[in-house]
Amino acid sequence: MSVALSARSLVCTRGRGRRRFELRVDALDLNAGEVLVLLGPNGAGKSTLLRALAGLDDGVRRGAITGGEGPVTLVFQRPTALSGTVEGNVRAALLGKGVPEPERSERVRRALLRFDIEPLADHDARTLSGGELRRLALARAFVLDPEVLLLDEPFDDLDAEGQRRLSLDLQEAIAETGVAVAMVTHDLRRALLLADRIAVLSNGRLAQHGARDDVLLHPDTPEIARIVGMINVAEGRVVRRTDDVTWIEIEAGFEVPTATPLETGERAWVGIRPEHLKLDVGRGDGEPIGKASVESLVSDGLASVVTLRVDERRFTTHLLSGRGLARRLRAGDRVALAVHPDQVHARPLR
C-alpha cells in the first residue's frame, strides 16, 4: 500500500507560558485509500495534527510532512459558507485550477449529487442548516478530487439520522474515490464503522497507532484503553496460571481470566470492552467470574448500558434494549458475570 501522506519528527507548538501546548509526532503514515481515525481526549492535539497535515501553519513547526502530490484538503469542524449559492461555493474550489468547461460543471454537479445537495444548488449557501452546510463542505472538498481528505469532527452537531446518512454517503464516496482519509471524531461508533486504522493521541503525543482491531482490542495503556472504549479497566495481581489461561485477582476473591500469558505474582492491568462482559444466564457463555449488583440501567432505545458493581469497583456492559434480560433487569438485582479469556486484554503494570 503506497503512502499518501507521511509525518516525521513533527513538532507543533502554540500558546506561551503556562498555556503553551506542544504536539510531537515521531512518525505517522496515511496510506492511500485507507481511513485513519484520530482519537483522544479534548486538548490532546488532534485538530492541531490535522491542520499540520493539511499544511496550515499552526504554531511553530519542525519536522517534515511529505507526500500529498495531489490535493490535500481539510473539512473543518465548523465549515464556512462563502457568500453566494451552494453551487457557487463548490465551483469556487476550482478557481484558478485550469479545469475547463464543461468538465468544471460536470465535476461540480457530481460533487453536489454525491452529497445529496443538488436540489439546493441555487440556494443561498448562508441559509443552509448545519447538516446541509457540512454536506456542502464535503462536496467542496470532493470536487477537488483530493488525494488526501482530512475531516475534523464530521458528525458533530448532527442528529442521529443526519449522522447515519452522512456516514453512509461518506463511506460510499471514500470507497468510490479511493481517497486517503484522516478523521478526528469523538463519535467512537461512527469511527469504528469507517476506520481501517486508529491513532490515539494523548497530551500532545501519539500514544498508539495501528490497525483498527489491534488498537481496539490491544491498547498499550489503561488510558488508551478508556479512549478506545475499553472502559472496564482494573489493576490486579496474577494469582494462578493454567495452560491457556492466566487468572488475575482484581478484588479480594474476584478473579478475571485472560489468554495473555503473564507470570504468577506479577502485577497487571486488565481491560474488557463492555460488549465482551457477559451477564451469565447459564448458557456457558464464557468463564464465570463472580457476582455483581446492578447499579443502573440506561437505554437509548437500541442498546442498554448496564452499570454493575463489585464491591467498590464499577463495570459496564451493553445489552440489546427490549430483549430478554434487558427487559427483566432492575437496579439492585444480583447477576453473575462471565468473560471469554481471549476477550480480556491484559498487560503487565510498569
Binding site: 491542520r51 493539511a54 496550515l56 490535493p71 490535500v72 484538503t73 481539510l74 473543518f76 465548523r78 465549515p79 464556512t80 462563502l82 457568500s83 453566494g84 469556487a92 474550489a93 478557481l95 484558478g96 485550477k97 467542496r140 472538498a141 477537488l144
Partner: protein, 220 residues
Amino acid sequence: MGAEWQAGPVAEITLRTLWVCGAALVLALSVGVPIGIVLGTRRFFSRALVISSVNAGMGAPPVVVGLVGAILLARSGPFGDWNLLYTPWAMILTSTAIALPLVIGLTLAAVGSLDEEWDLQVRTLGLSRPWRIWLLVREIRMGLLAAVIAALGGILSEVGAVNMVGGNIAGETRVLTTAIMMHTSMGEFEIALDLASVLVGLMLSIALVLTWLQLSGRAR
C-alpha cells in the same frame, strides 16, 4: 449681493470637485484596502500599535491633517521641491490622508467580521493567493462599500484642510466646499446656497447609487 450666478465657473468647480474627490477616493482605496486586509489577516509584531494608530487617525481633526500637509508641502518643507502646494494634487493628497484611516479601519472591521477560520478554510481548498484575495474581497464587499461611503463623505464634506493646501485659487484649486465658504464669508449667500445645492445634489446622487449597490448586494 453684487455677484451673479455663472454656469461656466460652477461647472468647472463641480468638475474639479469630482476630480479631486474621485482621485483621492481611488488612492485611499488602493492603499487602504490592502493595508486593511493585511492587518485583518496577518499577525505580526506591533500590529496592535498600527491598529491603534488607524483608530486614532479615524478621529483625527481634518484641519490638523491640512496643517501637517501644508507644512510638508511648503517650499521650506521636506517635499517643497515637488511644488505641489496650492495645486489640486496637494488637495488630493490631503483628502487621501483624511480618508485613508477610514478605509483601513472599515476594511479591517469587515475582515474581522468574517469567521475566525475563514482564511484557513479557503487556504485548504488549495487556491492561490490572488484567488484567495479575490474571494476575500468578494466576501467583504458590503464592508468595503461602507468604507467607500464613509471615505467619500469625509472627502466631499472636508473644507478646512483642502483650503489650507489648495488655497482656493479661482480656476485652479477652487472646489465646491471652498467656494461655498468663500461666498459665505463675502455675504454672497445666494451663490453659496446654489453651490451648496449642487454639492448636496452630488452627495445625494452618489449616496443613492451606493445604497442601491449595497441593497442589491445584500439581496444576493
